[in-house]
């Protein structure tokens, strides 16, 4: 007899409906699995065999042929265990195939018949929705993640036996209640008001977030670079449902969400170590999985010890920084992942870390410092609009300093500035100032004559480079937006210059 069961296959974030066709008949006992299965899929034979027997069902004596259609797409992972088992039961008449109609089966099987969670459940459930499939049967541990998709009934099944019982109607169908987006709101663990002092750096972070600019923090060890970076997600605008869905899809594909509470509700904060390889950062591997930059989508990618990252890895970052997505092509797969993140880079001012410190003298030679800083290429530096220096804070300072505003207060200002930008650029197809092209800069960043004069003076006095010019313009635009001002005033330019003066100080005249 023949049976047909629905399941789903993923390639990157996108997927395709998989029909699991099972044919069971007479002949010499054998199990044939076709349809480009990978090793994990091929091994499902043994799991399915034991699971069926241990659930109190009969495994067919004769020949079993399983086809995963479409047969020309590669199938990966253990997600097909459950549909194959259900297909065998249907093909052998132990379960009426009609009862499986309208269901999609996604899950790995344990030898005792238990249903285990799989990676990538959210994009698969979204796929089910698009294919107009009414219900998905999956592991209870995957249920929370799947429950955000309105319009798909989520049926958690602890094991094969209870699933069949529910399908047959002997036991009422268990349905995981669908959840609305608001349930998922979480507070960030690190708040802006936790940072004592550092008003200058906090302000720079606010400007950076408001205009979508990348940020470079330079400071002695212990000056609070990491802490500041960690609290940046908390001042980013709240995630919309669409954004959260996109983030969750990416994280789901890597399997990071198994057993978690479903949706990623926080803006991601990713801090890969500087020994990270290009593949782990950008994405890749045989299955072309997303890398850190995609996991940081709509959030913050924090690269501490920036110059210590291998040069080729940093250079590989440049293209996704411009495009907001990355395409990974491998022999077996080709995937495009979104990678629209805010880059926060941190570095010491010199190899020993104490250049410019008032407390500890620096032990580096001029050449060492130069070599260290030259690890950051000009084009890379060019993509970071805001540079800010942080100085160390002593204990006495920490005790006495004011804490400043809470994240939500800062976020309110950021939201207002972002709204202003979205309105201004609605015809340009961009969202914030950092995305302005040179042409748009000419249109939208017009300086008042006084501000223009100030900028001119900055160039001669601070010996700024030509590339600093457009950067300062864009940052001035953001500062004006934070101020609620449509005109860019001298004060706005003056502040923006401070965020760029590091360039001439550190990368300009050092001998």
């Amino acid at each position: 007899m023949l049976s047909r069961i629905a399941s789903y296959g993923l390639s990157g974030l996108e997927g395709f409906l998989v029909r699991v066709e099972v044919d069971s008949g007479g002949g010499i006992p054998a199990f044939e699995l076709v349809g480009l299965p990978d090793a994990a899929v091929r091994e499902s034979k043994e799991r399915v065999h034991s699971a069926i027997r241990n659930s109190g069902f009969a495994y067919p004596q004769g020949r079993v042929t399983v086809n995963l259609a479409p047969a020309d797409q590669r199938k990966e992972g253990s997600v097909y265990d459950l549909p194959i088992a259900v297909g065998i039961l249907a093909a052998t008449g132990q379960l009426d195939e009609k009862l499986t109609e309208g269901f999609m089966f996604l899950g790995e099987l344990a030898l005792d018949g238990g249903v285990r969670p799989v990676a990538g459940i959210l994009p698969m459930v979204i796929g089910a929705y698009n294919e107009r499939i009414a219900s998905v049967a999956l592991s209870p541990e995957n249920a929370a993640e799947a429950s955000y998709i309105d319009g798909v009934r989520v049926v958690p099944a602890a094991n094969l036996r209870s699933l069949v019982a529910m399908l047959k109607g002997g036991v009422p169908l268990e349905v995981f209640p669908p959840r609305g987006w608001d349930n998922a709101r979480v507070a960030y663990s690190s708040d802006f008001s936790d940072i004592k002092g550092q008003q200058g750096a906090k302000r720079a972070a606010e400007v950076a977030v408001a205009g979508g600019h990348n940020l470079l923090l330079v400071g002695t060890p212990g000056s609070g670079k990491t802490m500041l970076a960690r609290s940046i997600p908390s001042i980013l605008p709240e995630l919309s449902f669409a954004e959260a869905l996109e983030i969750t899809k990416i994280h789901s594909v890597t399997g990071a969400l198994k057993g978690k509470d479903g949706m990623v509700a926080e803006r991601p904060f990713r801090a890969p170590h500087h020994s990270a390889s290009g593949v782990s950062l950008i994405g890749g591997g045989p299955k072309a999985l997303p890398g850190e930059i995609s996991l940081a989508h709509y959030g913050v990618l924090f690269l501490d010890e920036f110059p210590e990252f291998p040069k080729d890895v940093l250079e590989a970052l440049r293209q996704p920084l411009e495009d907001g997505f990355v395409t990974i092509a491998r022999a077996a797969a080709r995937s495009t992942y979104p990678a629209d993140f805010m880059l926060v880079a941190a570095m010491n001012p010199c190899p020993c870390g104490f250049f410019g410190s008032r407390v500890t003298p620096c032990r580096c030679t001029a050449q060492q410092i130069l070599r260290y800083r030259n690890k950051i290429s000009g084009p890379m530096l060019d993509r970071i609009d805001i540079h800010v220096e942080m100085s160390e804070v002593g204990y006495a300072d920490i005790a006495g300093r004011s804490t400043g505003e809470k994240s939500e207060v800062v976020r309110a200002r950021v939201n207002a500035a972002r709204a202003l930008q979205a309105r201004r650029y609605r015809k340009e197809g961009i969202l914030f100032n950092a995305q302005l092209t040179n042409r748009m800069t000419g249109v939208y960043c017009v300086l008042e004559p006084e501000a223009e004069a100030l900028l001119k003076k900055a160039f001669s006095t601070l010996k700024l480079s030509a590339r600093a010019y457009t950067r300062i313009l864009k940052v001035s635009r953001t500062i004006a937006d934070l101020d609620g001002s449509e005109n860019i005033l001298p004060a706005h330019v003056a502040e923006a210059i401070q965020y760029r003066s590091l360039e001439s100080k550190y990368w300009g005249t050092l001998r």
Binding site: Q199, G356, R358, S391, D397, R401, L454, P490, E495, R511
Partner: protein, 366 residues
């Protein structure tokens, strides 16, 4: 280049014998201080009793008028001048030392009497404090008419030359002494300063044009740095710094030594602090401390006159906070009560007015 007969043969001696000042002096003494006699003896091959055989052979080979002409022509092509110890341009002070070079090669202009030459030496890897001290001191000295002598290496050397060049009114702010030929810029990164020094002062060397810098050249060069100067200021020097050798040279040559003090914890100031402690060098806090040794009393140094009336409220507030000394951005933010945004723009405008300076670590000072 027009040379008298004596200069001509001194030049020959300097070129043919190379930079070994002691050997040249011995030869001159043996021949009654007459370079022409040395030349003729060399041509006859009579120098064997005065030097090693192979060197004598080489001198013999070089002892021809054609050789001299060729060398002079080459100098002209390279735009390098030469001053022999008998030439008018040769600095008088340098003649006083134990082993003055017989020939000095130079680019730029050289005078026998410099108004008040003071050398500045120090570590090649200065701290920001040392670098600034060197720039400020050199500028203040040059503005008072001092000619700053330095070695044009990395660090304090470069800072000294840069500071001296900042003195716009000085006609002859600085001289640099190289450990390579006068046309070889080392390190290459200092070419910008090199050109400016040539334009407004001189770059001198006892090494022939084209000579590459070698480690052994630098101690020899140090004796010329101190020899050209009335006094030597050590700005930052570790315990075993070459700058201390220059200070020793200076003391041996009867010149004065000065030292800029550093913090107790600063390894880079261990050498200068030791100089002061031992009484060998005079502690220097400002250019006036050096000038007064030579009878020049500078009028009391004033801070660049800031008319607080021209400043806006925030600018004046920040200015007053900086009067006692350096402050970080955070401290200014706390003390002034201004928002970070407002403080940023205030600092920019003060910086542009030249009233305050920013240094690494986001530190601000007047």
């Amino acid at each position: 280049m027009k040379l008298s007969e004596k200069e001509r043969y001194l030049f020959w001696l300097g070129v043919a014998n190379g930079p070994g000042a002691a050997r040249s002096r011995k030869l001159l003494e043996a021949f009654g201080d007459d370079p022409k006699a040395v030349f003729e003896a060399a041509a006859r091959g009579d120098l064997h009793e005065h030097m090693k055989g192979d060197v004598a052979e080489l001198m013999k080979k070089r002892a021809s008028e054609r050789y001299i002409e060729r060398c002079l022509k080459r100098l002209e092509e390279l735009d390098v001048s030469a001053a022999t110890i008998a030439s008018r341009a040769y600095p008088e002070l340098l003649k006083e030392i134990y082993d003055p070079p017989v020939v000095l090669y130079y680019r730029g202009t050289l005078y026998p009497q410099l108004r008040l030459p003071v050398a500045m030496v120090g570590t090649r890897e200065p701290s920001e404090y040392g670098r600034r001290a060197a720039v400020e001191l050199a500028r203040a000295l040059a503005e008072s008419g001092v000619c700053v002598v330095s070695g044009l290496a990395y660090g304090i050397d470069r800072a000294a030359a840069e500071g001296a060049l900042e003195a716009k009114d000085s006609a002859y702010p600085t001289i640099a002494v190289l450990g390579s030929g006068p046309d070889v810029v080392y390190p290459e990164a200092n070419r910008d300063v090199y050109e400016k020094v040539v334009a407004r002062g001189a770059v001198v060397s006892e090494y022939m044009p084209g000579t590459e810098p070698k480690a052994m050249h630098f101690p020899m060069r140090n004796r010329i740095i101190s020899g050209l100067a009335r006094g030597v200021v050590v700005v930052e020097a570790g315990e075993k710094s070459g700058a201390l050798i220059t200070a020793d040279c200076a003391l041996e040559q009867g010149r004065d030594a000065f030292a800029v003090p550093g913090r107790l914890t600063d390894l880079k100031s261990a050498g200068t602090n030791a100089l002061i402690r031992s009484g060998m060098a005079k502690l220097v806090q400002s250019a006036a401390d050096i000038l007064e040794e030579y009878g020049i009393v500078k009028r009391k140094e004033e801070k660049p006159g800031v008319d607080t009336g021209t400043l806006c409220f925030e600018e004046e507030l920040v200015y007053r906070l900086l009067v006692p000394g350096e402050r970080s951005f955070d401290e200014l933010c706390e003390l002034s009560g201004l928002s970070a945004a407002l403080l940023n723009s205030t600092l920019t405008s003060l910086e542009f007015s030249g009233i305050i300076k920013q240094s690494p670590g986001r530190l601000f000072s007047l």
